[in-house]
């Protein structure tokens, strides 16, 4: 009596068991939403333009290291205006990541550091208000910045983008905290 009941349950269970096994739908491909393949920094002083570029074809998941190029040397005692463009070139047409950063400018900030004896100083040339109406007029974002060189020297120039950080901060990474989206160094020569 109960055996029958049980056996029928078992039969139903086994039907379930075996009917699930034919499920060969191919999974859909994922193009990572947060991928940034390319950072292009344009430094302009009058007619003189220097391009710093880093291209990482396969992002964080992939083994390939970013390819870093610097189009030329910086001139001594010069003021450059800088602008950063971030792109995801793994999709076509390329996705401009700047838009997302501008939309959430209050949660993002670029940081600029130089090491070695590189004689440069940087300052921010934008604020959150430039991208959003309600944004702060004092907190910088760093998509636009100013770079001033003094004497001839060589060293590395490092650009970091963080999100979910402390704002306002004292301009240092340790004070800002947050999560790193970009951390890239460029070899720079001032002549």
């Amino acid at each position: 009596m109960n055996t029958c009941k049980f056996l029928s349950m078992l039969t139903i269970a086994s039907i379930l068991f075996f009917s699930c096994s034919d499920d060969d739908d191919a999974p859909s491909v994922i193009n990572p939403e947060e991928l940034i393949t390319t950072m292009t920094i344009t430094l302009t002083s009058g007619n003189n333009t220097i391009i710093l570029k880093s291209f990482d074809e396969d992002g964080v998941d992939g083994p390939t290291a970013p390819v870093v190029t610097v189009s030329g040397n910086l001139a001594a005692n010069t003021t450059y205006s800088g602008e950063i463009v971030l792109q995801d070139e793994s999709v076509s047409p390329a996705d401009i990541v700047n838009e997302e950063i501008e939309r959430e400018a209050d949660e993002h900030q670029f940081f600029f550091e130089s090491s070695g004896d590189l004689n440069i100083t940087t300052s921010y040339a934008d604020t959150e208000r430039d991208y959003n109406e309600g944004g702060s007029v004092t907190n910088p974002v760093g998509i636009k910045f100013e770079l001033v060189t003094t004497d001839a020297s060589t060293g590395t120039f490092t650009v970091t983008l963080r999100h979910k950080l402390k704002k306002p901060n004292d301009g240092t990474l340790s004070d800002a905290g947050g999560d790193t989206d970009i951390a890239q160094s460029f070899p720079i020569t001032i002549e």
């Binding site: 109960n2 055996t3 049980f6 349950m9 078992l10 269970a13 086994s14 379930l16 068991f17 075996f18 699930c20 096994s21 499920d23 191919a26 999974p27 859909s28 491909v29 994922i30 990572p32 939403e33 947060e34 940034i36 393949t37 950072m39 880093s54 990482d56 074809e57 396969d58 992002g59 964080v60 998941d61 992939g62 083994p63 390939t64 290291a65 970013p66 793994s90 997302e100 939309r103 959430e104 949660e107 550091e113 090491s115 070695g116 590395t156 490092t158 970091t160 963080r162 999100h163 979910k164 990474l173 340790s174 905290g177 999560d179 790193t180 989206d181 970009i182 951390a183 890239q184 160094s185």
Partner: protein, 797 residues
């Protein structure tokens, strides 16, 4: 038939008794077979005498003659048992009664502990320990067992480690069902509510073949408290409040039993904690919110029975805010700063990074007992495990979408026949069929860490136990398992080539997606496991166990397919399609003495594992986001050598001390490199004062000393983008030794009728020691938890 034996023994007893000196004494305990709790008020009758056990289950029978007696042991709620004992040879004997008639198993009268295997090293924690950890996790409670430690992510994600091994090498049997809850991840804790268990047994090693052949580490068997076959309604509620985390747990269960064998059970638990605190700061975003319910009903007769069981478990776990890091520079900064980068005010809110796991488990079981043959049990179980991991992603919108979204569905049918009619041997033969499907939701917008796959498992086993004589039992078993995994996985073309899969596996490619290949790896494994051992009791108080176990474990999906950035760990994890199964040979020995006044156990083991799969940091990969540590799965031949030892001394009626020590040394056999994540040695000492007259007072003070792990693989050199040079990343360096003091007090207030109220206070880390544990994955970022006061109220009604 038993009655007949009784009469014969009785008659023989009477016949020979006249010629003997009748000055012998028999002492011992009557113990609940299932959870090891001493039974007070149990009756032992023989001839026309009756002895009743005291509050601690002890009995003493004097003036016995040196002959065989037939003792009838009984207790309310239990089946009476008739045991014949030759008083000439035996002066002490523990009786184990089947307190719970659910399964109507034969009562174990061997004088040993209740066992899952006869010869493996085993230990059980009973319901008192489970109640003590009601607001904690399974992994926390199991650390009470010598040789069991845990791999933690903070204080809420606790993975049990048995004699140095964890993850897929440790099987968890929850109410007869093998948990399928993505146990492959270091930060994936077992998805079980400890309050569903009445007792938990740990089998150290692969000796318990009926549960699976791949338990290279061991098996954790959680069994529910069972319902008596009589008209009864019993319930229990456990309330716990904790100062650290400013939260608590409530767990209730109710059981309705009927004389005719029917029963209905229901149980539920809710736990809620806010941020826990280290001695010097708040560990921000470490709250948890856990919910569990389970219900079952069925019939248990002597000749047959069936039941239906369902449980639901959901846990939302905050992951320490400071542990979410961007790249290797952030990690270097964290390791150097000694203090978490994010310390916020206390809150109950759980933000990203966080995990949300849900586990459904359903089971149908039927058994039938055949006269003079044995018992046939068949079961179908269904499990669905859903895992969501939310990260601190780039934008507000993305933060609402989990970075990992996996759904693992498992169907299993098991059936076994146990031939136990003959008192000299037991044979158990069984089969298992399993189908499992993993689905990784593409809506995450993050490449899948674990791919979609279908997995088919089939197993057969035969185990046997043979009583050579009253004192010696030998056992043996063999099992074969077949595993097939059929995955559909995307590989980045650059990764595919970097792993050199283009040389070996190009035939797996089924479609080209520009920068990625879609591949269809179909992998098959044949696994053999076997065990043999003996259990020898001698001089009444000694017990020797020897066991050899061969076990093979097929690689899990994480070991095979991981590829890419694991966001919650900020590391690139790389599996290996070429991974082969692990083969373990484990020899374990245990010698124990247990008498009323003192006892000890010494249990050495050696576990030789060929093709041991380990995950370790090997270097870094550079990207636009900076450098990330790369953790690669690698196979090597390994050897684990260890020892678990413990001593107890009953100094006086009221004073008892317990001492335990465990050590395990793991290394690669070829080049003598220490294995990663091996537990450091530890010594536990505790002193307990018990006085039944004072409301059953039990007070104890415990000291835990954790040595520093001095054997660890070397650190790695990494390129720091910020420093512009290679630096040594101390990713493997263990933290210093530490010492913790804990105290515990329990009393029991009898209320009306059978109702009682137990009250307990526990203080953990009394001296508020600052410490970090080598086996806590958050040791780089913050200290472990500080002092914690817990108050417990347990109502039995």
């Amino acid at each position: 038939m038993k009655r007949f034996t009784l009469i014969i023994v009785f008659l023989l007893g009477v016949t020979f008794s006249s010629a003997q000196d009748c000055d012998k004494t028999l002492t011992g305990k009557v113990i609940d077979f299932h959870d090891g709790v001493p039974l007070k008020g149990a009756k032992i009758t023989f001839n026309d005498q009756m002895i009743v056990t005291d509050t601690e289950g002890n009995y003493t029978i004097t003036n016995l003659c040196a002959i065989s007696y037939a003792f009838t042991v009984s207790h309310e709620d239990c089946n009476s048992q008739v045991v014949t004992i030759n008083i000439e040879e035996v002066t002490s004997k523990n009786f184990y009664l089947e307190h719970h008639l659910n399964e109507l198993e034969e009562v174990n009268v061997d004088g040993d502990k209740p066992n899952k295997t006869s010869s493996s090293q085993e230990e059980t924690i009973n319901k008192n320990v489970i109640e003590k950890y009601s607001s904690g996790s399974l992994g926390d409670a199991l650390r009470e067992i010598t040789g069991v430690s845990s791999l933690n992510t903070g204080s809420t994600i606790v993975k049990p480690i048995i004699q140095g091994l964890n993850g897929s090498r440790v099987l968890i049997m929850n109410n007869g069902v093998r948990m399928q809850d993505m146990e492959w991840g270091d930060e994936h804790a077992p998805n079980v509510d400890i309050n569903t268990a009445g007792n938990v047994t740990v089998v150290k090693g692969a000796g318990a073949l009926r549960y699976g052949g791949d338990a290279i580490g061991g098996v954790i068997v959680m069994e529910p408290s069972k319902s008596p076959v009589k008209d009864t309604l019993i319930g229990k509620t456990v309330l716990t409040g904790a100062s650290n985390g400013r939260g608590g747990a409530i767990s209730s269960e109710i059981i309705r039993g009927y004389e005719n064998g029917w029963f209905v059970k229901a149980q539920g638990t809710v736990k809620r904690f806010g941020d826990v605190e280290a001695p010097d700061y708040i560990l921000s975003n470490t709250g948890v919110f856990e919910k569990g319910i389970s219900a079952s009903f069925g019939v248990n007769k002597f000749t047959y029975g069936w039941d239906v069981y369902y449980s639901f478990y959901n846990n939302e776990i905050g992951v320490l805010a400071a542990s979410h890091i961007g790249n290797v520079d952030d990690l270097i900064e964290s390791i150097n700063s000694q203090e978490p980068a994010i310390i916020r005010d206390f809150t109950y809110d759980i933000e990203n990074p966080r995990q949300e796991v849900t586990h459904h488990l359903g089971r149908l079981r039927y058994f039938k007992r055949f006269e003079k043959l044995g018992k046939w049990t068949t079961q179908y179980d269904f499990q669905r495990n859903e895992r969501l991991e939310f990260d601190v992603r780039q934008s507000e919108e993305l933060r609402k979408i989990p970075g990992i979204d996996l759904e693992l569905t498992t169907h299993t049918i098991t059936s076994d026949f146990k031939i136990d009619a003959n008192s000299e041997y037991v044979l158990d033969f069984g089969v298992m069929l399993r189908y499992q499907e993993n689905f990784a939701d593409p809506a995450t917008g993050v490449r899948r860490l674990i791919p979609d796959y279908d997995k088919y498992d089939a197993g057969v086993f035969l185990t046997g136990e043979y009583d050579l004589n009253d004192n010696m039992v030998i056992d043996a078993g063999i099992r074969y398992d077949f595993n097939q995994i059929d995955a559909q996985k995307f590989y980045q073309k650059t990764r595919w080539n970097e792993r050199r899969y283009d040389v070996d596996f190009n035939d797996l490619i089924i479609e080209d997606f520009g920068t990625q290949w879609l591949t269809n790896p179909k992998l098959e494994y044949h696994n053999i496991s076997a065990t043999t051992g003996l259990n020898y009791s001698f001089k009444e108080v000694y017990n020797l166990r020897f066991n050899y176990a061969l076990a093979q474990r097929a690689p899990n999906p994480s070991e095979l397919f991981s590829d890419g950035l694991h966001h919650s760990a900020a590391r690139v994890e790389l599996g290996d399609l070429r991974a082969d199964q692990e083969t373990s040979h484990k020899i374990s020995l245990s010698l124990q003495k247990s008498s009323d006044t003192w006892g000890w156990e010494i249990a050495p083991y050696v576990n030789i594992i060929n093709d041991y799969i380990l995950l370790e940091p090997t270097g870094i990969e550079l990207s636009l986001r900076g450098a990330f540590p790369v953790w690669e799965y690698r196979q090597t031949n390994a050897q684990l050598l260890g020892l678990d030892a413990k001593v107890y001394v009953q100094w006086h009626n009221n004073w008892k001390t317990n001492h335990s020590f465990s050590i395990v040394k793991g290394k690669e056999t070829e080049n003598d490199i220490p294995l990663i994540n091996m537990p450091a040695p530890n010594i536990n000492n505790s002193i307990t004062f018990q006085k039944k007259e004072w409301l059953g007072l039990s007070a104890s003070l415990e000291s835990q000393y954790h040595f520093r792990q001095n054997e660890f693989p070397s650190n790695i050199d990494v390129f720091s983008v910020r420093q512009g040079e290679n630096v040594l990343l101390e990713i493997n360096t263990p933290p210093p030794a530490y010492h913790l003091l804990n105290a515990n007090i329990d009393v029991e207030l009898p209320l009306w009728k059978q109702n009682s109220l137990k009250m307990g206070v526990t203080i953990n880390n009394i001296i508020n020691e600052n410490y970090r544990n080598y086996l806590n994955r958050q040791r780089y970022f913050a200290d472990d938890v500080g002092r914690n006061f817990l108050l417990r109220l347990i109502f039995n009604y």
